[in-house]
Every structure is written in C-alpha cells, then in structure tokens.
C-alpha cells in the first residue's frame, strides 16, 4: 500500500524546494547557521478583525521542508532569517527575525513549517 504521507512529503522537494524556491539562511538561537531552500511569499491576504474587510498584508511567509532542517524553530525561540527582500532575481538579502510574537504554523503531519518573519533593524 502506498504511504500517502511519505509521498506528499517527497513532493515538498518540488513544491517548496523546486524552481520557485528562494535561498533562506537561518541562524538558530545557538548562533549556528544553516542554508536551505524554501517557498517565500511576500504578501498575503487576510481579513481585518476590526472591520471584516479583506486586506493585503506586507508580511513575508516562509515555508520550509522540515526534513531538510538540522534544527526546527520552536515556540518563543529567537532566530535570524536572511532571505531576498523581493522575488526579483538578484534582490539583496534582508534581515528578518522570528521574535516569538507569532507562533510558527505547519503541516506537521505532512512535513513543512510555515514561519512569519518580522523586519529587523540595527540596535
């Protein structure tokens, strides 16, 4: 019998790490660096909780394949995420952080994690 979960996870190599993917450099709370490829979306639609109106948010969403990570971000951990600031080819890398303000989401049963990085500035 085909293991559909394993099949779906193997497809992440195409859907998340394929031709549309971007290079993402992760620095974990111990200062160790890992470079992976993943899906980076720069804006998304959401519903304004105050008015109910649809709105477009400038909020990058990074989706990574868990099996390619040497360490997976946990709740409240502080990570540095460096990735292109726009989808344009040759765009410079920007500095973002996971600051614990918003929990990561994911399809743990499928094998991906979705991160919501925030912009970072020099202290």
């Amino acid at each position: 019998m085909t293991d559909l979960r394993a099949l779906a996870e193997s497809h992440l190599g195409i859907t998340l790490e394929g031709d549309f993917s971007k290079e993402v450099i992760l620095t974990d709370p111990d200062g160790d660096i890992q470079t992976v490829r993943g899906q980076v979306l720069y804006d998304r639609t959401a519903q304004n909780p105050m008015t109910g109106q649809d709105q477009v948010l400038n909020e990058p969403v990074v989706t990574l394949r868990i099996s390619t990570l040497t360490r997976v971000p946990e709740k409240r951990e502080r990570w540095l995420i460096q990735m292109p600031v726009s989808p344009v080819v040759g765009a410079p890398l920007g500095d973002f952080v996971l600051d614990g303000g918003r929990a990561a989401e994911g399809g743990a049963s499928i094998g991906y994690i979705r991160l919501y990085p925030k912009k970072a500035k020099q202290l």
Partner: protein, 213 residues
C-alpha cells in the same frame, strides 16, 4: 466657513503641526488606509478629524448664534521593527557564541511599539492640554471647554512585518456658530454678446455688452 472646520484646521496647523519637532507626523483628515511602514519609528502619525457635532436646540437656535459641542478624534499610530545587533550577526569573524548573544539581546518589536505609542500619547496630551493652547490656536474667546476626555489603545495588529499599534484620543470643545446663510457660488465675470457677421471687418452691426458682478 463654519467654526468647526476652522478649529479642525487650527488644531492641525497651529497646535499639533508646530509641535512635531520630528517626533510625529500630523495629518489633517481621516486617512483611508495607512501601512505600518508609514508610521515607523518617529514617523508616528496623528490624524485629526471631527467626529461628532452636537448642537442642542435652544432659544437662539432660529437665527443663531447657537452654541454647540464638537468632538474631534485624534487617531494615533506607531510602528516598530525588531532591533538587534545585526553587525555581529552579519560579521564573518563572529563566532556562533557571539551570534547567539546578539540574538538573545534583541528587543522585540511589540515591546518597542508599545513604548513608542505610550510616548506619543504623552506628547499629544501635553501639547493639546498645554495652557498656551487653551484656545486651540483660534483667537481668544472663540473656543471654550477644551478637554481631552479619553485616550484609547487598540489591540496590537497581529500581522505584518512590523509591530503596529493604533489608538485614539477624544478632544471635546464648544463654541458659538453663526448661521449666515449660504452665499452660493460666484457667477461668470462677463457676458460677451458680440454678433459675429462674416465680411463685416469692423463689426459695425455688432453690439458688445460687458457686465461685471
């Protein structure tokens, strides 16, 4: 122009605007939308608009002047990015321990935005309630009962690449409005009634009448 419009303009141009000193940005109308980046750091925005016009009917209501109470909303917004030592994190010579320390020491955007918003409320309250601004920039005796009756902070916006905080302050005051009647709009300046007849070089048959209002 009625006083409620003049006072709004005066709050923007003569009270809040001159006190900015690079600490915030005053907008004299109700903006439709504004993204977090436009309120980042000291670009904190302050929007002023009237929201309530309350003129109870009384003995002088037929011809005026009639006293009324006006409520102005002062909408505030502040946004911040997370701050950390990026020089260390981007340094080729920094050790993992150095980078871990830099990550441990960062200041969360939500905390910075909260502090920034509180500071903005502090500034605006002090500017509006300053004894020198008791007339809200209008000639003495026009505005009465200036009072900041409420300050409110909304919940943090749980989305976007910056931490954004919004809120509002309620400013009430009263003044006497005149009902002088609608002056209408200006008519055309002149009416040209020249009759243009072909081959009549000097327009001998024409009549020109010019009127000015």
């Amino acid at each position: 122009m009625m006083l409620f419009r003049q006072v709004k303009r005066s709050i923007t141009d003569k009270v809040l605007g001159p006190s900015e000193d690079g600490r915030y940005r005053t907008i004299g109308y109700q903006n439709q939308t504004e993204d977090a980046e436009s309120s980042l750091d000291n670009e904190r925005s302050v929007q002023v608009f009237w929201s309530d016009f309350n003129a109870p009917k009384n003995a002088s209501a037929l011809q005026g002047p009639f006293k009324h109470n006006v409520t102005y909303n002062i909408e505030l917004s502040a946004a911040k990015a997370t701050e950390l030592d990026l020089e260390v994190l981007n340094s080729m010579s920094a050790t993992p321990e150095d980078k871990a320390e830099a990550l441990y020491g960062f200041q969360e955007a939500a905390e910075l935005a909260d502090e920034s918003f509180d500071e903005l409320v502090d500034i605006i309250f002090q500017v509006i309630m300053d004894a020198r601004n008791i007339d809200l920039g209008m000639p003495k005796g026009v505005v009465a009962s200036r009072w900041l009756s409420q300050a409110k902070k909304d919940d943090p916006v749980p989305a976007g690449e910056f931490a954004l905080l919004t809120g509002s302050m309620t400013l009430t005051c009263s003044f006497s409005e005149e009902a002088g009647g609608d002056p209408g709009v200006e008519g055309a300046a002149s009416i040209n009634t020249v009759v243009d007849i072909a081959d009549d070089d000097v327009e001998k048959t024409g009549v020109e009448v010019t009127t000015t209002e």
